[in-house]
Symmetry: C2
Subunit: 129 residues, 2 copies
């Protein structure tokens, strides 16, 4: 099975969604992301959806899931590159992506993640503070 590549960029991980997501691919992506957040101690996850012409409730739920799991691991999730038509559809569907931050492009998303990491520095020694 194909897996979606996850690229490390500084403190963040970058995923570009290009193919139709189905159940298996989505859950593989969630697993891979979770593992990689922990492995590289990522502070944020950028998900580029500029290739998607349609975002349905399945994708919406997947983004929500990723954001929820990332948050528990102290990583911000930022969805970037959303097309205007997709934003309109999401609102019409009542999917407001509450748990997910959005940015216009990867660079703004990276800036959001850097700001988050700066305001919430690592507590590397786990001394309970």
């Amino acid at each position: 099975m194909e897996r979606i590549p996850i690229l490390k960029l500084g403190d963040a991980l970058l995923v570009t969604i290009q193919v139709d997501m189905h159940d298996q691919l989505a859950s593989a992506l969630e697993e891979d992301l979770t593992a990689k957040i922990v492995a590289v101690r990522a502070r944020g996850v950028l998900i580029d959806i500029s290739a998607l012409e349609i975002v349905d409730s399945f994708i919406g739920r997947m983004l929500d899931n990723i954001a929820a799991v990332s948050r528990i691991l102290d990583a911000d999730t930022v969805v970037v590159g959303m097309r205007p038509a997709v934003a309109i559809t999401l609102v019409e569907l009542g999917l407001s992506l509450n748990g997910v931050k959005t940015a216009l492009d990867v660079e703004r998303g990276m800036a959001m993640i850097r700001r988050h990491a700066y305001l919430n520095p690592d507590d590397d020694d786990h001394d309970g503070e």
Copy 2:
């Protein structure tokens, strides 16, 4: 027709190859990349092929083409994330990707592009020097 998204990251453009490339998709990517290099004045192109399990002569030629066009536009092309098995296959096929630079991951590729941009600063005013 689907198009492969091109992400801007500082001075560089990032493309993640995830789907099977066919003629039309490859030429659309070459066109889009060329246009975007000029539009954003990019100094480099990063092509992530970590999702590819096989690189055949068609992909090899596409990478060569992109590198050749980018070079004319003064942008470096760096292929990142190549799997070990792919590297072996390329050598066995006699495709050594001569015109293409390679790096292990996106971060090293970005560093190569930054170095290139630093050593070859823009001549913005086109005063013939």
